[in-house]
C-alpha cells in the first residue's frame, strides 16, 4: 500500500462527509422543522406560528407547549381526508391509463429494428425534456372552451355549444397521463428490450397463441418494468400541484393543491406542515420501504 491508512481514512470520511452534510442540512433538518411547526399553534406573527418550547423562570428545562391540535384538525375536517383519498384515487386511475397507453408503445419500440428504435425512443424522450409546464399549456389550448377541439366539434356540427372539458376530473386525468407518459414508457422499454426472444419462441412452439404468449410469458416477465413505471408515475401524481391548479375545477380536491392553498392562501403554516407530515407518513415512507426491498433497484 502506498498510502498510510490514516490518510486514506480521512479521505474516505471527507468523501462521505460532504454529501452527507449537505443532505443533513438541506434535506433532513428541514423535515425536523416542518415537524416542529406542525406541533405549534398558528399565530398572527412573523413567522406565523408559535413556539413549542417555553422557558420559564422556575425550571431549568423548557416546558413543552406543542400539541397535536393541527393533526386533530386534519382528522375532524372531512376536507383533508377527502383530498387524500381523492389524490390517491386520481393518481391510481391516471397510472393505470398511463400503463395501458405506454405498454404498446414500449413493446413496439423494443421490437423494432435498431434504427427505427433510436428514432422512436427519441420521440419519447423529446417531450420528456421539454418543459412540463409548457406541455400543460399546450393541452390547455386544446381543451379550452374556445380551443381547437371545441372549434372542430362545433364546425362539424356535432355540438352547438362548447363542451366543458377544462376544470373537470377528465382534464386532470388527461393532464397527468400526457405529462407522465414518457416516465412510464422508458422503464417498460428497458425491461422489454432485455426480454429473451427464445422464451417467446418456446411458448409458440409449445402451441400457445400470440395472445396466450403475451399474457403467460411477456407480461409476467415485464413485471419489474411495470412496477418501476407505475411508481415513477404514481408518486409524483399524488402530490401534483400544477396540473390540478391549471386544469381542475376550483372545488376539486387534491392534497398537493390543499397544502399549497393552506400555506399561501390561508397562511396557516402549522396546518400546511401537518398536511406535509401526514403526506409523508402515508405515502413516502411505505414506498421507500417497497423501493428498497423489491427488484426495483437500478430501475429507477
Amino acid at each position: 500500500m502506498s498510502e498510510t491508512p490514516d490518510r486514506s481514512r480521512i479521505g474516505k470520511r471527507l468523501v462521505i462527509g460532504i454529501p452527507m452534510l449537505w443532505l443533513l442540512l438541506f434535506f433532513l433538518i428541514p423535515f425536523a422543522i416542518v415537524l416542529k411547526v406542525s406541533l405549534s399553534e398558528g399565530m398572527i406573527a412573523q413567522p406565523p406560528y408559535g413556539p413549542i418550547l417555553e422557558w420559564s423562570e422556575d425550571s431549568w428545562l423548557p416546558a413543552y407547549v406543542g400539541s397535536l391540535f393541527n393533526y386533530e384538525w386534519l382528522l375532524d375536517d372531512p376536507l383533508y381526508i377527502t383530498a387524500y383519498l381523492n389524490s390517491i384515487w386520481m393518481a391510481l386511475v391516471s397510472t393505470f391509463f398511463c400503463l395501458v397507453i405506454a405498454y404498446p408503445m414500449a413493446y413496439l419500440i423494443a421490437r423494432s429494428s435498431p434504427s427505427t428504435r433510436t428514432t422512436l425512443l427519441m420521440m419519447v424522450v423529446l417531450p420528456f425534456w421539454t418543459s412540463s409546464l409548457l406541455r400543460i399549456y399546450a393541452l390547455l389550448g386544446l381543451l379550452s372552451p374556445n380551443g381547437y377541439i371545441n372549434t372542430v366539434l362545433m364546425w362539424s356540427g356535432l355540438t352547438s355549444a362548447p363542451v366543458q372539458m377544462l376544470q373537470t376530473d377528465f382534464a386532470v386525468y388527461l393532464g397527468i397521463v400526457f405529462t407522465y407518459l414518457p416516465l412510464m414508457v422508458l422503464p417498460l422499454y428497458a425491461t422489454l428490450e432485455k426480454l429473451d426472444e427464445s422464451l417467446l419462441e418456446a411458448s409458440a412452439d409449445l402451441g400457445a397463441s400470440a395472445v396466450g404468449t403475451f399474457w403467460q410469458v411477456t407480461l409476467p416477465l415485464s413485471g419489474p418494468g411495470i412496477a418501476a413505471g407505475c411508481l415513477l408515475v404514481f408518486i409524483p401524481a399524488v402530490g401534483e400541484y400544477v396540473i390540478p391548479a391549471l386544469m381542475g375545477g376550483p372545488d376539486q380536491l387534491m392534497i398537493g393543491k390543499v397544502l399549497y392553498t393552506e400555506f399561501f392562501g390561508n397562511r396557516d403554516w402549522p396546518v400546511a406542515s401537518a398536511v406535509a407530515i401526514a403526506m409523508l407518513a402515508f405515502l413516502v415512507i411505505p414506498f421507500m420501504m417497497l423501493r428498497n426491498s423489491s427488484a426495483l433497484r437500478g430501475e429507477v
Partner: protein, 279 residues
C-alpha cells in the same frame, strides 16, 4: 400483417399522437397572426418579436438559466461523490441512512420539499442571519439538493456496471486514491456525468413548485412567470416561447443521438480492426 401487429401499431400510434398533437398545435399557432387563440389569422412571426421585446420574459429566462447551470453543476459534483460512496464504499456505519437520504429527494412530493426548505431558510435567517431574504441563492440550494439525488442514482448505476478491476489494477501499480479517481474512474463515468448534468439542468429549468416556495419577491424564474401568464388566460407569446424551448431541446436530443451513433460506429470499426490484427 397479422391482426396482432395491426392492433399493436394502432394502439402505439394513439400514444404517440397523444404526446405530439398538443405540441404540434402549439408550434403552428405560435406563428398565428391573430390575437385569438383558436382563430387562424395567417402566418406571422409577430409573437416572437413580441417575446424578445418583453423584458420580464428575458429577465426570467436569464434567472432560470443561471439557476439551472449552477444547480446542475453543484448537484453533479455532490451527486458524483454520493454515487461513488454508494457503489464503492461497501458497508459503513450509517450506510442505510446515507442511501435513504441520497435517494429520498426523488420521491418527495414537490410541495413538501418546497415547504420544508422555506421553513429551514426562515429559521436559519432568524438564528444565524443567513441567508438574508430569499432569491437566487435559496433556489439554487433547493435545486442542487434534488439534482444531487438524481445524479447519485445515475452515477451509482454506471459505477456498478463498470469493471472494478481497472481501478484495482491502477492501485496495484501504485496509484493513489484521488489520482485513480480523477485519472481513471472519472473519465469512464463521464457520459453518466454529462447525462446527469443535462437531466439536472432540465429539472431545475422546469421546476415551478419548489422555486415558488423558496424564491423571494425579486427572483421570478421562467416557469413562475409562465404560470402566472397562463393563470391570467391564454397569451399567444407563450406559444412562441414554448416553440423556442422545444426547438432547443430537439436540437440537443438530435445532436446527442448523432454523437452516440458516431461513437458507436467508431468503436465498432476499432473492434473490427483489432480482430483483424491491424494497428
Amino acid at each position: 400483417m397479422t391482426r396482432g401487429r395491426i392492433f399493436l401499431l394502432a394502439t402505439a400510434a394513439v400514444g404517440f399522437l397523444l404526446l405530439y398533437v398538443p405540441l404540434l398545435i402549439l408550434v403552428i399557432y405560435s406563428f398565428n397572426a391573430s390575437r385569438l387563440v383558436s382563430v387562424w389569422g395567417g402566418w406571422s412571426t409577430h409573437w416572437y418579436v413580441e417575446l424578445f421585446r418583453n423584458q420580464a420574459v428575458l429577465n426570467a429566462a436569464w434567472i432560470s438559466i443561471q439557476v439551472a447551470v449552477v444547480s446542475a453543476t453543484v448537484g453533479t459534483a455532490l451527486g458524483t461523490l454520493a454515487g461513488y460512496v454508494l457503489s464503492r464504499f461497501g458497508r459503513f456505519r450509517l450506510r442505510l441512512f446515507f442511501t435513504g437520504m441520497a435517494t429520498a429527494p426523488i420521491v418527495m412530493p414537490e410541495v413538501v420539499t418546497g415547504l420544508s426548505l422555506l421553513l429551514l431558510f426562515i429559521a436559519m435567517e432568524q438564528v444565524i442571519g443567513w441567508p438574508s431574504g430569499r432569491g437566487l441563492l435559496t433556489i439554487i440550494i433547493a435545486h442542487s439538493t434534488f439534482c444531487l439525488a438524481y445524479v447519485a442514482v445515475i452515477v451509482q448505476a454506471r459505477l456498478t456496471d463498470f469493471d472494478r478491476s481497472i481501478e484495482e489494477a491502477a492501485q496495484d501499480l501504485g496509484g493513489r486514491q484521488p489520482w485513480i479517481f480523477f485519472q481513471i474512474t472519472l473519465p469512464v463515468i463521464a457520459p453518466a456525468l454529462i447525462s446527469g448534468w443535462l437531466l439536472s439542468f432540465t429539472l431545475s429549468f422546469d421546476d415551478l413548485v419548489i422555486a415558488s416556495f423558496v424564491s423571494g419577491p425579486g427572483a421570478s424564474t421562467l416557469p413562475m412567470l409562465i404560470f402566472s401568464k397562463v393563470r391570467l388566460g391564454v397569451s399567444p407569446d407563450v406559444n412562441a416561447l414554448g416553440t423556442l424551448i422545444m426547438a432547443v431541446v430537439a436540437l440537443g436530443v438530435f445532436a446527442g443521438a448523432w454523437q452516440m451513433r458516431r461513437a458507436d460506429r467508431i468503436r465498432r470499426r476499432d473492434e473490427q480492426r483489432a480482430m483483424r490484427g491491424d494497428a
